[in-house]
Symmetry: C2
Subunit: 343 residues, 2 copies
DNA sequence: GTTAGCACTCAAAATATTGGAGTGCTAACA
DNA sequence: TGTTAGCACTCCAATATTTTGAGTGCTAAC
C-alpha cells in the first residue's frame, strides 16, 4: 500500500490532534478538522489502512487511534525536513552578559525548561578536550597550596594541594613554579598532558616533588570533573504535568535519572556520537530513547559547538506526545546562538 | 483525664505499630502486642479515652486508630528525653579525608539519604559569618582579573572581574594589590566589610578604581552565594517509596522544593533560629513543618557548629510516619562528629 | 470512490453487593 | 470497680454488575 497525499494529511491531523489533547482521535474528529471534506466513513477506511501500515494504533477496539512510534517518526522526519532552513536570526537577550560559561549554561537550562515545560538538560563542554588557559598556585599555609586552573570558556576549577613538606617553599619559589606551569601547560587539554610533557616540566625545576604533586592534582581534578558536575538540569518536576508519565512510573524514573545524572551522561554521550556523524539535532521517540525503561518519553538533543572548538549538548525530555515542532525550533535557535555568543 | 502509665504504653504501641505498617491499628492488635495482657475490649476503652484526649484519631468509623500530630509529638518528646545521653562515640569513616568542606558535605548528604531512605539536605556554613582566609587576584588578560577567595573551611569562591581599563595594570601592580587586600580583609566576614574598611583600603592604594571594582566583586560574589548554591541535597526520589506522600501530592511538592531550593533555604533559616535558642535538634511534625503545604511530612533538623564558629544545618524530610528514633540517632551522631572532624 | 446506516465492541463511569475489620455498648464476672 | 465476652452496628475496600457512549467495521446505496 502507498502513503498517498490524503493519507499523509489524515495522519498529520491525527498526530497534531493527539499532541494537543492526549486523547485517542476518532474518525469523526478528523472528518471535521482535516479540511478534506470527507465523511467519517471514508476517514475510517483510510485510518484502517494507516493502521495496517503501522502508523497508528488502537489502544483497544472501539477507541480512536493514537500514533505509533513509527507514526511519530514519520511526523518528526517531515518536520525536520521543513525546518531545515528555518533557523532565523531572532536574537534573545540570553547571552547579553556572557562572562563565565557555567553561569550562562545554568541560565540557559532554566530558561529552556521554563519555555518548553519539559525537563531540560545542558552540558558544558567536555573538560577532556577543553584547553588550559591559565594556572595559578598560591601558598595558603606552610603545607598547603591553593591551585586554580582556568579553562577556555572561563571555566574555573580549584583544588587544594597538600604537600609533604620535603621541599620548603616561599613566595618567590611559588612564583617561579607558576611561571613554569603556565609556560609548559597553557593551551593544552588534559589529554595533551602526557608523560613526556611532565618529564619536560620536571627537568626545568628543582622543586620536582612539589611540581609533580601539583600536576597530579590538576589531572585528578579535571578527571573528577569529567563526570556529573558538568551536567546542568532543570524542570524535572515539569514531568508531573503529564499524567501518562505519572501513571506509568516513567516520571519517578526520570526524576531519579535527573538526581543521579549518570544516565544523563550516557544520553549525552550517545547524542554526541550521533552529532559527529553530522546530525546536529536528534529526536529519540519512545523505545528509541537511550534512557532505560522510558518508553513513554521522547528525547530531543542538540549539539552545539563554540568557535574555539568546545562542544556541548542541550536536551529536552518530555512525554512522547511533546510539542516536537516547538522544541525543535527552540533548540535549533539556541544552537545557532551559542555559536555566535562566543567568539 | 490523666495520661497514666498504661495509656502511655498503649499509645506507644499504637505509634510504633503504625510507623512499621502504615495501616490503622486496631484494638485486637494492641491486645496481642502491647505485652499488657488485656483483652481487646479493655484496650478499646483506653483507646476511646486516648482519642478523646487527642492523641489518636480514627480515619473513619470502624477503622483502627492512627496517631494524631499531638500523638507523634508526645512520642517524639519522649524519645528526645531518653536519647539525650545516648550520643555514643562510634566513629564513622566519613571524615577520613577532610580537605574541602564542600566535598565533605556532598558525601555527607548522600550518605544520609542512603542510610535513612528519606530526603536529605545539608547546608554549608553561612557565608555571611564565614571569614576570609586568603584572597588572590591574577591578571588573565588586559581587561580581566581572576578573583579567588578562600574562606574558612577551605571553601573557595572564584569570579572574574572585568575592568574598565582606565588604570593600567601589570604583574607587579597586581601583586601589590593582592598584598593590600589580604592585609586589610583577611579574617573578616562579609558583614565586617564596612564602608569604613573600604575607605581604609582605598586610602592605601593608587589603583582606587581597580580595588573598588574588586571589593564590589567580592561582596557581590559572597552575597550571591548566600543563597542556593550552599544547599546540598540528595535522595529526593526516596519520597516515592511512601505511597501516602505520592497519593496526596506532597511528593511532587517536595521534589519541586528540592529542585528550586528556595523553600529549603527558609527551612534552614527557621531551624537555625530555633538552634540559637539552645535546641540543637528540631522535629517538625506535619503542620508544624516550615515547608508549605506538606502536612503529611515531618522534618528533622540538626544544627552543627564547627570549632571555628562556623554553623550549618543537616536535615531529613520524610513521611509523618518516619522512623524518628533512627533519624534522631543518626543526626545526633553526625552532629557530634562534625564538631570533632574540624579543629 | 464516497457515504449513510446499523449492529457491534469495549473501556470507563456509575451503581450495587459483599466481606471483614473494627467499633461501642451492655451485661456479666472477679 | 476494673475487666471481659458477646453482639449489633458501621463503613471502607474489594468485587461484581450495569449503563453509557464513543468509536469501529461492514454493507448497501448513491
Amino acid at each position: 500500500m502507498e502513503l498517498d497525499q490524503r493519507k499523509v494529511v489524515i495522519l498529520t491531523t491525527i498526530i497534531k490532534n493527539y499532541l494537543e489533547t492526549g486523547e485517542p482521535v476518532g474518525s469523526r474528529t478528523i472528518s471535521k478538522y482535516s479540511g478534506l471534506n470527507l465523511s467519517s466513513a471514508t476517514i475510517r477506511n483510510e485510518m484502517s489502512d494507516l493502521e495496517e501500515m503501522g502508523y497508528i494504533v488502537q489502544p483497544h477496539t472501539s477507541a480512536g487511534r493514537i500514533p505509533s512510534d513509527k507514526g511519530y517518526r514519520f511526523y518528526v522526519d517531515q518536520l525536520m525536513e521543513n525546518h531545515k532552513h528555518e533557523i532565523d536570526d531572532v536574537k534573545t537577550e540570553m547571552f547579553e552578559k556572557v562572562d563565565r560559561l557555567e553561569t550562562t549554561l545554568k541560565t540557559l537550562v532554566r530558561n529552556l525548561a521554563e519555555n518548553t515545560k519539559y525537563a531540560a538538560v545542558v552540558t558544558g563542554p567536555s573538560i577532556r578536550t577543553n584547553k588550559i588557559k591559565f594556572i595559578q598556585t598560591s601558598l595558603v599555609d606552610a603545607r598547603r597550596l591553593l591551585l586554580v586552573v582556568m579553562m577556555q570558556g572561563n571555566i574555573v576549577k580549584t583544588s587544594s594541594v597538600v604537600l609533604d613538606g620535603a621541599e620548603e617553599l616561599d613566595f618567590n619559589r611559588v612564583l617561579s613554579i607558576n611561571m613554569l606551569l603556565n609556560d609548559v601547560l597553557n593551551g593544552l587539554s588534559v589529554e595533551d598532558i602526557t608523560e613526556g610533557r611532565i618529564g619536560q616540566l620536571l627537568a626545568r625545576t628543582s622543586y620536582k616533588g612539589t611540581v609533580k604533586t601539583i600536576v597530579d592534582s590538576i589531572l585528578n581534578m579535571l578527571d573528577i570533573n569529567l563526570g556529573e558536575s558538568q551536567i546542568y538540569t532543570s524542570g524535572a518536576t515539569n514531568i508531573f504535568k503529564y499524567p501518562e508519565l505519572v501513571d506509568s512510573d516513567n516520571a519517578s524514573k526520570l526524576i531519579s535519572a535527573f538526581e543521579t545524572k549518570d544516565e544523563l551522561a550516557s544520553l549525552v554521550k550517545e547524542s554526541q556520537e550521533q552529532a559527529d556523524g553530522k546530525k546536529p539535532i536528534q529526536v529519540y521517540i519512545g523505545e528509541e530513547s537511550p534512557l532505560q525503561n522510558m518508553s513513554d518519553c521522547s528525547v530531543i538533543t542538540a549539539n552545539y559547538e563554540l568557535g574555539n572548538g568546545l562542544k556541548g549538548t542541550i536536551g529536552v525530555i518530555g512525554p512522547k506526545r511533546m510539542d516536537y515542532e516547538k522544541v525543535l525550533e527552540i533548540l535549533s535557535k539556541l544552537q545557532s546562538e551559542m555559536d555566535q555568543a562566543f567568539q
